[in-house]
Amino acid sequence: MPSIVFLNCKKKYISTIQRFNKRSASTSKKMNKNKKSSRRKFLVRGGLGTLGVLAIGTYVFRNPIRRKTLSISESLIPPYNGSGTEANLWFEITQENQVVLHSSKVEMGQGTFTGLAQMVADELDVAIEQIKVVGAASATGIVDGLSTGGSLSIASLWVPLREMAATMREMVKGEAAKKMGVSVASLSTKDGVVSGGGKTMTYAEVATDVTDWDVPSTPDLRPVNTYKYVGKPVPRVDLAAKVFGDPIFGMDAEMPDMLHAAVIRPEHVGATFKSADTSKAAGMSGVVKIVETPDWVGVIAKTFSQALSAKRAIKVDWDIPKKWTESEIKDMLQVGKGDRMITQKVGDELDPEEEGVVAMEFSSPIGAHAQIEPNGAVAHVVDGKATIMLSTQVVGITQKQVATALGLKKKNVNIIPTFLGGGFGRRLNTSHAVTAAKLSQAVGKPVKYFFTRKEEFQNDTFRPPTHHIMRGKLNANGLLDSLEHHYASGDVAINSALMPGVVNTILGTDIGAMRGANIMYGKIKNHRSVQWHTTLPFATSWWRSLGLLANTFAIESFIDEMALKAGKNPVDFRLAMLGTAGNQARIRKVIEVAAAKSGYTDEVVDGKAMGFAASIDTGSPCAQVVEVSMVDKEIKVHKVTCAFDCGVAVNPDQVRSQCEGSINMGISGALHEKMTLKDGQLYPTIYGPYQMALMRNTPKEIDIHLIQGADVPLPVGEPPLGPIGAAIGNAVRRLTGKRVVDLPMRIV
């Protein structure tokens, strides 16, 4: 088995991505060279082909700022991952003097569209109500070559998007100066209106009939504290659409003359398709065509109900080489098995046999994404061109995959991203877009295809199960001298379409499984983290926060146990092992704030105990305190206090909303959720049996304290998922004397 010492993984990862970016940037630069001129051509056209229910207004002005984007994308950390080689379009101004922002990132609930609109409004000088944010389609906008994920959307666009907005403001001013016959210096801008020399013009008036624009050098950005929108709890820009039930999701998309499809896929892990008897289905009402491929059988019918009935009438013969069992998976996934990789190494290794070494084992189960909107797509493939509307986190990759699978040119595949009914990492894999495209190709008409809930559960790209061994040793002062985290996980990043094989080879480790796996207490003399990676017989991949929930559960439960053993308060115990500079100070701060605001105590009061835990993920530290009681062995979380440092909170209300969602989803993961193998199939296949936290299982009160420990926005959507599982386990320990070591928590 390969064994490589692997340190400083993150830095290498980022520089690898940057190399990729530079390569694509330099290619495009070459392409741009011929057109080098300060006056750039802009397309003008009225009306974008309207499609389905998601079409938007009339356009008079498109504004590509490719070169700028590319130069910015090279200097960014974390990088903006747009390929920059597509026809680029960021902003449009409509005749109604509205600004349409084509977002390279999709909106899946995380509030990114709102944050981006705030950033644009403050530099472009328009009111936020004047901005409409849409997901950029691959034919008309800049799509992200990687994904919307990793909690990086706002952080990665923080500088480039504001610079582009500021550039556009200056372009409009430059043009206005010409039209109004005044100097640029005499002009000011506000709410989409340019004023000066006693005259005013709206941006739309300025833009009308202009085909060549002067692009000025990039203006300086304004100081953050002068912004009107950034930093304020602006209501979500998609709030009304979501409260009044507008048709904005992939499931709501339609195309004229559209047919519906249902597909049969294997139910057993590892099963393949042998043959199908479709004779009965073929003659059923509404059935238009039956499509057989080596992997699936699809029915296309006039309505969804007809397609579903016909599907039920098809008999399929499967080749099931083996019926996998729960214990076989458990056996494969053990610390000590698979590929070993040291992901953190400071000081010496512990000798497990040495006197005073404490060891504990932890585990977490297979988790399902269970996003409420099923995966699906509406596809129209005709004349060598494909148009596909769907909920996807990977517009660029979906485009590439459809093009490859159907033998089309990439530029002839237009992916139109809709609002997502939840992402959580599930929509980083969009093989159903290929299915829909093939079905449409077979009938030459638009086809809508989506997963049933059972397909959704059985074809999920699951959160992998994990196994952990913690080892530690206290010194004479009752503090940890050594701490080790050994963890086994299935694929997260490895084997994902998101990570080119070469990245995995360079890194040699699964960077997704590694999230939250390293020890954050800098003053522990000897500490290390060791990964054991195994690819399981079913697909596992990214699930919101990746390894963070399980890794933090193991580490912070163990820390708590060691504090108890040392007879120390768990807050003081943690603080004593943290340094005072950089991120160590930021972690220290969230711990102190959470402890103070919650009034943390080790005592059980009125049948309620508190539990404490902390973590740092992608540079955003978070500490949480829970108040827990138990009724009939059922764990009840009453209140969570959360201290979180994500640097600049572009929208503090949405940061809070993400903290609340992360906490409640973490409660669901830690207390309720579990997939198992039953008769060779992944089970359960429906909500209910797949237990999740509902209203009655979530706390009435979540008290959030935001701390700004950095002058840029840092990741928000996942880091607050870290501490919650451990915090609950630590509270249960104080309440019952029992240490929970397996998720989901079951008190026996």
Partner: protein
């Protein structure tokens, strides 16, 4: 069969091939009202909740024939941007939705609860609002439900 019912205040007649077709697909695909969502098709998530004669019903598992002659209200008929239902008003005040997909179902379930029980306790909410929200916006929903109760009594 010919199905006649009242939807969002309008009398409507539609032709359906199978009287057992779930009401959800009649509403979504025939009436083209997309606010009522498909989540599971098995009455297990609540995304498809709408009102039939004032009662919250999971439309994915409600045969369309039972709607004959009844009053169906979907999220599109609950309130409008100009005249939002108290539940929608409360949802706006608390900025409840994240991805938003489950939200029409929750708002319809809440509106039905409040019609029957204008001032629900936390326990009433726990026992009656049993839809699934994967974004886990439960904490804000609870606040919004109490606020909607307040607004409803004003």
């Amino acid at each position: 069969m010919k199905l006649s019912f009242n939807i969002n205040g309008q009398p409507q007649s539609v032709e359906i091939e199978d009287p057992n077709t779930p009401l959800l697909w009649v509403v979504r695909d025939i009436m083209n009202l997309k606010g009522t969502k498909f989540g599971c098709g098995k009455a297990a998530c609540g995304a498809c909740t709408l009102h039939v004669d004032g009662e919250a019903v999971r439309a994915c598992s409600y045969p369309a024939k039972f709607a004959e002659g009844k009053k169906v209200v979907t999220i599109e008929g609950l309130g409008t941007r100009e005249n939002p239902h108290p539940v929608q008003q409360a949802w706006i005040e608390h900025v409840v939705p994240q991805c938003g997909y489950c939200q029409p179902g929750f708002m319809m379930a809440t509106a039905a609860l409040l019609a029957e029980n204008p001032n629900p306790t936390d326990e009433d909410i726990d026992n009656n609002i049993v839809n699934v929200c994967r974004c886990a916006t439960y904490t804000r929903m609870r606040k919004a439900i109490h606020r909607a109760a307040e607004l409803g009594q004003e």
